[in-house]
């Protein structure tokens, strides 16, 4: 069994990082925790510090001001770590790609393991994305 399978087999702990988002994706992530979708039954939960996390969920575009912080947080995360680009903005830049404060979509800044597109992705899409990631 490889390191990755061993590490990611049981409960995934998620760290939510909002780079420069419109809040929609962030709210939908929280929505996943609440009674209707309840991802905690899969052992997934949001953690307060990236040092405890297995997965980093990044929402929104990377702005000029957050780029430094995103890199810093990626450095702090214990490896191996999975990075998920969450929502259209972090996948491609979306509607904000032409703005002057745009530093690039997430994969130009840190390596990305999975993309969940949508504006915002529905909670079902989030679950589908995470399940695909686990079976990768």
């Amino acid at each position: 069994m490889g390191l990755k399978e061993k590490v990611f087999k049981k409960s995934l702990w998620l760290f939510h990082l909002s780079a420069g988002s419109c809040n929609n994706c962030d709210i939908e992530i929280l929505d996943c925790l609440t009674p209707r979708f309840d991802v905690e039954r899969f052992g997934m939960k949001l953690v307060g510090s990236v040092r405890h996390a297995d997965v980093i969920l990044v929402t929104g575009i990377v702005t000029k001001k957050t780029k430094k912080r995103v890199l810093e947080i990626y450095k702090q995360a214990p490896k191996p770590v999975l990075v998920v680009a969450f929502g259209s903005c972090s996948c491609t830049g979306g509607i904000f790609a032409e703005g002057y404060n745009f530093e690039g979509p997430l994969d130009k800044v840190i390596p990305v393991d999975a993309y969940i597109p949508g504006c915002p992705p529905k909670p079902e899409a989030i679950l589908a994305g995470i399940v695909k990631l686990l079976n990768k």
């Binding site: 909002s18 904000f96 679950l127």
Partner: protein, 399 residues
Amino acid sequence: MSQSKQAFIPIGPYHPLLEEPEYFKLYCDGEIVREVVWETGYNHRGIEKICESKTFEQVFYVVERICGICSTSHPFAYANAVESIPGIEVPVRAKFIRSIVGELERIHSHLLWVGLAGHFLGYNTVFMWAWKYREPILDMFEIITGNRNSYAMFTIGGVRRDINEAQCQQLEKILDQLKPKMDMLIGAVMDDPVIHARLKGVGILTAQDIKDYGAVGPTARASGVRIDVRRDDPYAAYDMIDWKVITAEAGDVFAKAEVRLLEILESIKIIRQCLQRLRKENGGDIRIKVKEIPPGVGIGHAEAPRGEVFHYVKSDGANRPVRHKVRAPSYTNIPTFRKSCVGQTISDAAIALAAVDPCYCCTERMAQVFDYSNGKPLFGGKELIRLSQKKTLDIQGKR
């Protein structure tokens, strides 16, 4: 005491307390907060500049993404601004539909705040409850607009989708089920001794503070300042229906919670009346065609869940705005932390910061998630239970 002798506590930019990147520096003397410094700009995406490169029609979908929670309020204020340049009167049916969407957003946003406030207090039961009852609202949005957030309902001269008779019935049914749950939730939150103990007398804002900082919305109304754009400068259908402005006098966090909770009931009342009118006047236009926007200045505002959203649009007769200025309610609400946080203890500062419901960020639709291989919707409730049981068994079996 000089600043250097005080203890310094950073909140942010990435902090479990905050949804969005934001940086508050608390300078404390013992446990008492003496000064708060606010650093922002992490979320700055340059939307106003982007808007100036889009056509009037396209701007709707950009302003919708200023903030995911207020994704009706910004188009609402923008529509009021742009339609005021040529002086368009939108059809009555469109007015009612606009009001329904606006009020649904108010309910979902207030529930969201109540939940998060509970979360900040370490009272996760409230969080789970409020967000559970928020789901039916998102279902209603899905019925009306086809998406849970970012609704793309508004356009110049009206709305893009009609609400038909069958949908009215569906919506009314959901409202009927929702009302008793809301009564229960509101009663439970307002009578809870823990919430009373944590929120009463915390983060007080006086009417003078509200005026000094230009605070709006529930933040102002909780301090006894009776301002509400829906009443002061009526737009959409608000002057055609019966509703009242909710205010409280105390100005503390509890009063803000009270105002928001009671506004939920008021919003349910408004939606019911709008739906009745829609059913009575079945049929009619939902939009009028607008050929061009003449040169001029358009100023529009609308009452978002957090307060007044203000849009200033300047047109030179071309098909895109020359200048587009957006003022979200949080822009004037957040700076009140200077009055509400200073002098509080550190543990109360968190809820005092959250009390104004800060929102830092401020196209094709219909998304249902299908498995492409067989075309069936993914993950119903039963499917989720089956999966979670399978996972448990897997873990046990291989241990």
